[in-house]
Point group: D2
Chain length 342, copies 4
């Protein structure tokens, strides 16, 4: 049976990516699109690559009739989602792509996002959306909080290792190379082609990036003790893809084994043969994740590399996978697209 | 009913693109893959982005059992296709992606490709694969000759204008901006990232590009007289997409009308509102074609812009569309993927 | 003797390029820099690549003491230059990089720039800054008006051909591929890396680009009759460089000869051997211009390609060359930097 | 007085970069160029961006008359330099850009480069070319061995920290992002634009990269004990620039202080204000190095970022700086070019 969905915040990149995925989804139909500043425009005007699709005109959220909507994707900016979702019909299923419901502890939310949470009662209901690790909870959730794209990438490398107890928890370094679409469609000098192309630099270095809140929460919960990682993202001169190079202390073979075992039955997780490395080019445009493990020449050290598409598996693809679960559909529906190369 | 296909020459970019399209095709199954120098390798080793797919190991062509194959895609280099196809079972349907069967006149073939054709009897059977203009012939063809990617782009701009008689046939200029994947996976200095990125230059300027053979053949046939265009392709620092900027003499409104009328019922052809221009970013990764018409300030002159993805609609997507027709499948099967942006 | 210069509008790309050139200029010293919104900042904060240089702090223009300044480069936005220059000391030499003083006819200025000129008396004094064609006038000018970057590129291809009378004046097409730095440091969606990289599209198509005002003025003046060209610029996914592909009717050998003869003694103009094409990669970062001529297979048609660096020879390098002339310095001083490749 | 130099191996990127630097060098003249497979060609044919320069035709090395040559730059592939240099006149000064004379211990050379050294007596004379740390030895050297580009980058971050004793020597991680020109002009699939652009991946992960031989040698010598670092380079979709993100255990303020103190008098080393990060875009095209230090949220941890241009300061610029010293010229001659941005 076809499920009716709405996309709130459809004029950003994650909104467009949801539309792209739904275009070949066998049982999902878009019945409403919102885009506040662009209300009244057709999606093909905002995103010419979607002009061939027959889509509803962009509306203001308050003008949407949610009575026939089965699930709403909420792709609004951080901070905006809280009041919007609070005011939606209480029986509407929601997959939120913002950071607003990721952190369980309101103090942590305030610390990383700089202001108090305004929908705490909702935050309690929210389930963290890293599908492979919260599948059962997501299936029965009303509100699913999508993860940060860097946070997802790092967790795919590290969760199985923490669970298996094969690495030193006090010496974890996550060096991330992040495609620029993760920064959204925002008008900033450092995101201009003239400034960004042809080079790279770190940002939010030194433990300032907000996705650390997710790492802290999830890794500490898994380990049963406080875990703090070093994490430096770098802005990359490409549009799609995140590569995490994760440096750990532990036996490399055990590290590989833990990852291979944990992901053996996961459709979207590909653990490469021992000694191989992940490449963002091999997953771009898809919901797949590549995971590689290399032993270092220094005994007891390993390098784990993880690549995923920040807009797909790191955001809208993950959202779709979770929506499928929440709607009782095949989990992989609409998500089996192969990566685009070259 | 599922159709069994083979891909000959699967280790090149067009081969990989065929696999990508078949990955979500509802009724096509790959039963054989060839790659001479890479025989014995798995596709995931040759193209890591395809490693999640369950595919046959690469074989030598002579080792393939064609008895259970319904159709073979032939993605071999120019010149190689002729003897290979000549030796295939005579009841096997074939979609050839090379240049070997595009030109009807053996003298023209020899002129543009530098050696005599060695399978002239097959060339007679071959149907030119520009789907929207040869659909009926393709449906009943045994051998379909895929077009050149630049040749397709230029023809989408010009065929309806020649048919409608709205432009001067003696003053046509096609300035093409071509993504580098069109050059294939060949090891040449000018295709290295260090040489190609960050700039542009023309190639085969002055009427030397082989796709002119197709322009000459098709435009002259349509016009009922010799038509010769100026055509300069430029090597672009991006991977997918061709933009043709076509300069014509004719009434711009009539030009737009001719294109809009001709493509009104075509699923993959999008004629933009009058005055808008096409962008390669809006079609990359898909089988769609965008066509725009702008009136010049000089009366009686117009600029037509056409964008398509050289690997998809310009090559493997076209091949798939034609294969669907030849196999009696839905023409658009496996091809409704939305473009990937950003 | 060292000449003291000021740069007004130093926080844009052309301002930064002037500073780069002066860094190795043997006899020019920067004594003042203006940047209205960034007044009070050091240049190294605005442009970290210049942080090693010992430069004046950015000021507001009204705070600059011009008494010790020999020449001011004015790199302000179009429209802003007129009132600013009008109020500068009347004995100060000025090289303006904006469009404000390029067009001799006030009606033409208003037509292309949308508002009346407010410093008409100055416009009369201004000399058009295409060095190789206005060298003597520039040497004795007080105010030199830098050309548009596309306008310079097109003129390098066409002026000698019009002068020599070797082409048809009614059938000239200039197809330009322009690096994005030409659009400046402005915050627009289409200039974001995520939107611009990986593809191309035309802009200002159909005779709407402002540099047509310069083509009209200069070509008509040269020809002694009205000349109107077709001109379509394309936004390119690279930062530096313009390639003009110019389609003309005329004998290709005569075309090549006219260009070779005209530029034989010009240091920065390199006419390539007949049959070769220009590449932006071969001139990026330098003040050199490459000019190529290819004969078409259609008799009487030729393709001229011209490549230059829009920020250097197309703007700040040209400004420096003109400033050298106006200050009685060696014309090539500070400009002999070789292109940067790869 | 003008010094006569030869460049052996001038047809590669480092050879071209040397020519670029010499083009504006006040007292160096190129009297011979070698390029074995391209002997007989002009440099402008091999590298069109150098066509405006008046340069000797490429020769075979054995055809060069070294009697009037003061210094030879040897930009040959690894392994080739040894026999070539062995056969050069024994009074000729040589700056070698290959890896052949970097490692003092022949066993280490054989371990990393896979074959025995064939010019051991020369290796004894060779001085390691990291100018800021071997200046005096270089000044009086006959043979200077240029460093690896990654090796230089990592050492600029770490040498002062090891010297000052402010970091834990057993927990050093160097994550490098390396522009593709470092791989040279070699024809490999992974260096093609179509494969490399638009993404990233690590290479030589796990302690396999040859520049580790230099790290081991230099860091151990400095520390007076064995030091082994983890080092993972990543192939970047840009042409020029290396960014090293170095993770260390130590007090961040002390780390910054050690770097600032050590480089206070170095012309090309810019230590950024505490808390800032380096960007490759800020040094590309120049001989400058940017060094940044950020304190981590975890006490006692710091991230050091270093950016330099692999072809300039990481290779040919370093070679020039060393040649200047060896020839008694101003150390910075020809090297004060400002970075090229955007």
């Amino acid at each position: 049976m076809t499920q009716n969905v709405a996309i709130l915040g459809a004029s950003g990149y994650t909104g467009a990516e949801l539309v792209r995925l739904i275009a070949t989804h066998p049982s999902m139909r878009i019945v409403a699109l919102s885009g506040d500043r662009k209300a009244g425009m057709r999606m093909g005007e905002v995103f010419p690559h979607l002009r061939h699709l027959d889509l509803p005109v962009l509306q203001k959220i308050e003008d949407i009739d949610f009575s026939a909507v089965d699930l709403a994707f909420c792709a609004l900016p951080h901070g905006t989602s809280q009041p919007v979702i609070r005011d939606l019909p209480s029986d509407l299923k929601i997959v939120d792509l913002s950071a607003d419901f990721r952190l369980r502890d309101p103090a942590e939310y305030e610390k990383w996002y700089g202001k108090p949470h305004v929908a705490l009662e909702l935050q309690k209901q929210a389930v963290y959306g890293l599908t492979e690790f919260y599948r059962d909870e997501i299936r029965s959730a009303r509100l699913c909080a999508g993860t940060g794209c860097n946070a997802a990438t790092g967790q795919y490398a590290l969760r199985p290792l923490i669970e298996a107890g094969v690495i030193d928890l006090d010496d974890i370094i996550i060096d991330v190379k992040a495609g620029v679409s993760g920064a959204g469609r925002s008008l900033k000098e450092n995101l201009l082609h003239a400034e960004l192309s042809g080079g790279t630099m770190p940002y939010s270095a030194g433990g300032k990036h907000r996705h650390l809140g997710e790492f802290d929460q999830e890794f500490s919960k898994l380990a049963g003790r406080d875990v703090r990682v070093m994490f430096t993202p770098h802005l990359m001169p490409f549009n799609r893809g995140i590569l995490a190079t994760v440096y750990v202390k532990g036996d490399a073979a055990a590290v590989h084994e833990a990852l291979a075992a944990r992901y053996a039955d996961e459709v979207f997780l590909e653990v490469l043969p021992f000694g191989q490395v992940a490449s963002t080019r091999s997953i771009a445009g898809s919901n797949y994740v590549h995971v590689g493990v290399v032993a270092d020449r220094i005994a007891g050290r390993a390098t784990v590399t993880v690549a995923l598409d920040n807009l797909c598996k790191g955001s809208s693809g993950q959202a779709m996978q979770n929506a499928n679960l929440m709607l009782g559909l095949e989990e992989t529906a609409g998500l089996m697209l192969a990566p685009v190369f070259p």
